[in-house]
């Protein structure tokens, strides 16, 4: 075990992946010598060579197109998009190509080896173009897997699983936790399962569900609620696609209430899918409407970031609303 921050955990996972398989590559804008603008790929070029860890030209559609080709060829590309806000020029390559590659060829070809890493989310005074949480845009796309870790331990285990998974995975990294989140991480190799949520804390009055950086928000709100005598079950969804309906349903059947906290804007975010599914799965068990505490339906602001975000106080209010319904 070692103390690592989230960036170090990711760097460590990448290093393990590149060491075990010389067909594994890391690339993206400024990823090479510089080690990425957040330094997630720091040291990898020196250790694994310029051919396997390199800068690309500034063209996201090219990065993912190139990565799709490499994956189809049998290499194991790990492509970085510098900010999740800049993943959209690659949207066609991801949604029309990556996601449909295996299906359209009748499994003659696939890009299952592909992993796309990208820092997402707000809280860093980044304004509308350095703060987005675009997971829902990908969640409507069969063929992709989408994963979001909440801390260094999760990040390493989930990233290694993503790299080795035989399907393309988009791995969203909560950038406001890159250095802020520090924890014990095994130095050796391990994996955490994709498609499985984790019950982080058991409780009985209400289920609180989130993913990535919002986990600390709902944990904080749960603490507040406990002080008011409300017992919260806290779940980290971890995988957005495919998502773990069973774990969430089981919890809601137990608690009778569900609150979903999401950083992205409310409308058609992934919280919508969860609410739609759970109202169906748990209809007779729900004692109050499923609460969605989300970003507002606007671009991510700068000066008024504090007001905008789905913070622990808004979650706490919603918990009370739900319990007192």
């Amino acid at each position: 075990m070692a103390q690592m921050n989230l960036l170090q955990a990711i760097n460590n996972a990448l290093d393990i992946a590149m060491s075990e398989n010389d067909r594994t590559l890391c690339f993206g804008e400024d990823v090479g010598h510089f080690g990425g603008v957040f330094r997630a790929t720091s040291g990898l070029q020196e250790k694994h060579g310029k051919a396997r860890c390199f800068n690309t030209p500034l063209v996201e559609q090219g990065i993912i197109g190139f990565a799709n080709g490499l994956a189809a060829q049998g290499s194991v590309p790990i492509a970085e998009i510098q900010f999740a806000d800049y993943i959209f020029p690659a949207f066609d390559q991801i949604v029309n190509e990556t996601a449909k590659f295996r299906y359209r060829s009748g499994n003659q070809f696939n890009v299952g080896n592909l992993t796309i890493r990208t820092p997402y989310g707000g809280g860093i005074a980044g304004g509308l173009y350095h703060s987005q949480s675009p997971e829902a845009y990908f969640a409507h796309t069969p063929g992709l897997k989408v994963v979001v870790p909440r801390n260094p331990y999760q990040a390493k285990g989930l990233l290694l699983a993503a790299i080795r998974d035989k399907n393309p995975v988009i791995f969203f990294e909560p950038k406001r936790l890159y250095r802020a989140s520090v924890g014990e991480v095994p130095e050796e190799d391990y994996q955490l399962p994709l498609g499985k949520a984790e019950v982080v804390k058991e409780g009985k009055d209400i289920t609180l569900l989130a993913w990535g950086a919002q986990m600390e928000i709902i944990e904080k709100a749960a603490d507040l609620a406990e002080k008011s005598g409300i017992s919260c079950e806290v779940i980290d969804l971890r995988s957005i696609l495919p998502w773990d309906v069973d774990t969430v349903s089981a919890s809601v059947i137990k608690t009778g209430r569900l609150l979903i906290n999401q950083e992205a804007p409310l409308t058609n975010g992934f919280a919508s899918e969860i609410a739609a599914t759970i109202q169906d799965e748990c209809f007779l068990h729900l004692e109050s409407p499923i609460e969605r505490v989300c970003g507002m339906d606007t671009p991510y602001p700068l000066a008024l970031e504090k007001e905008y975000v789905a913070d622990h106080l808004k979650v706490f209010e919603a918990i009370k609303r739900s319990v007192n319904f």
Partner: protein, 394 residues
């Protein structure tokens, strides 16, 4: 190119603009219209066997296109797309490769598959999207793919295969393979952002990819002078620092030569090459299109006279490698085989209902399995509404 290098351009003190005229682009021609070889021309590596294989591929291609358009007209097939007039770009280009080279095509490159020996059954099963289709009946007709033949499954979104080809070739290079990737695309598709991305990335990362632009003058109804204003697509290669060659795309020997030389260079130098084949889409864009609305008969006639197949035939005849009776016999034979294959393929079952959810992931997710089970229960309730699958659900 290193920054200091290109900065050493001539200094001028009054404004001098460069433009399309600043670059002269020669056109490689080997075979004259009368089937003779141009004086001084350097022939590609070709012997009688290869020449006959190429020519037979031409004949098969023409018969296949003709028969499938007829089938579409008869309502047996939903869609088809011919490559009339530009067969030399695909057959000649593929003949210049080795079997282990990957081909990533746009959609009008059935010639490449024909040359590589894609079976008639495979063609038919794809077009009739039956359960024997290698692609499991999921894509519209003509979206072929073959892992065995190193022909990447075609995908409709244009130009997406271009940066993919760069990545594929980079992977081949890293593995140290004696293999390149050849990437076909139209002059229309070359307007997409993915073209820019793919060529630049191949140049920067030294990927052994041959970019082959079929410049056939049209993108559906849009003529190339409404597509771009540069000197064709070749003039762009210069901007990427990619070795570039323009060939007469209706001269199969020129195409073959260019591809052979390009392959050599790409494998040895680990660098990309751009080939622009100048040709013409003699037919409609597809069976959904009618070109009389956007171009003249005269223009078509002019190109009709520039037939790549006829040109090669004259050369073959001059070599005593081919004659009319051979041709007629072969045509009849192909025609019959194709007709028979159509009849077989259209009777083969659609894929089983399970294939709705396979290959979305390596293993269906729980959600997908549940959706499939619900669907099966539903079909059992209304078997008459789902005649293709109802009888086969357990």
């Amino acid at each position: 190119m290193n920054r200091d290098e290109y900065k050493q351009g001539l200094d001028v003190h009054t404004p001098v603009f460069i433009d399309g005229h600043s670059v002269e682009i020669p056109v490689l021609k080997i075979l004259n219209h009368d089937g003779t070889v141009f004086p001084g021309a350097e022939l590609p590596e070709i012997n009688q066997e290869l020449a006959v294989k190429i020519y037979q591929s031409f004949v098969f291609h023409r018969v296949l296109d003709e028969r499938m358009v007829a089938s579409q007209r008869q309502g047996r097939l939903s869609f088809y797309l011919t490559a009339l007039g530009e067969e030399a770009t695909t057959i000649g280009g593929t003949a210049g490769l080795k079997p282990q080279d990957m081909i990533m095509a746009q959609y009008r490159e059935q010639g490449a598959l024909i040359f590589r020996g894609f079976s008639l059954e495979n063609f038919m099963n794809q077009m009739f999207s039956n359960e024997k289709d290698l692609g499991k009946g999921r894509q519209m007709p003509i979206h072929y793919g073959s892992n065995d033949l190193n022909y990447m499954t075609v995908s409709s979104p244009l130009a997406t295969q271009i940066p993919q080809a760069s990545g594929y070739a980079y992977g081949q290079k890293l593995q140290g393979l004696d293999a390149v990737t050849l990437c076909y695309f139209g002059e229309g598709a070359a307007s997409e952002g993915d073209f820019h991305a793919g060529l630049n990335m191949a140049a920067v990362h030294n990927a052994p990819v041959i970019f082959f632009c079929r410049n056939n003058g049209y993108a559906i109804s849009t003529p190339s002078d409404e597509q771009f204003r540069g000197n064709g697509i070749a003039s762009r290669g210069v901007g990427y620092g990619i070795k570039t060659i323009r060939v007469d795309g209706n001269d199969v020997l020129a195409v073959l030569k260019a591809t052979q030389v390009a392959r050599d260079y790409a494998v040895k130098e680990h660098k990309p090459v751009l080939i622009e084949g100048m040709t013409y889409r003699l037919g409609a864009h597809s069976t959904s299109d009618d070109p009389t609305g956007y171009r003249t008969r005269e223009e078509e006639d002019k190109w009709q006279k520039n037939d790549p197949v006829l040109r090669m035939k004259k050369w073959m005849e001059a070599n005593n490698w081919w004659d009319d009776s051979q041709e007629n016999e072969l045509k009849e034979q192909y025609k019959e085989k194709i007709l028979a294959a159509v009849k077989v393929a259209e009777k083969i079952d659609k894929p089983p209902v399970e294939d709705l959810i396979t290959d979305v992931y390596d293993i269906p997710t729980p959600q997908l399995t549940r959706q499939l089970n619900e669907l099966k229960e539903h079909i059992k309730k209304y078997p008459y509404a789902y005649p293709f699958t109802a009888g086969r659900i357990k």
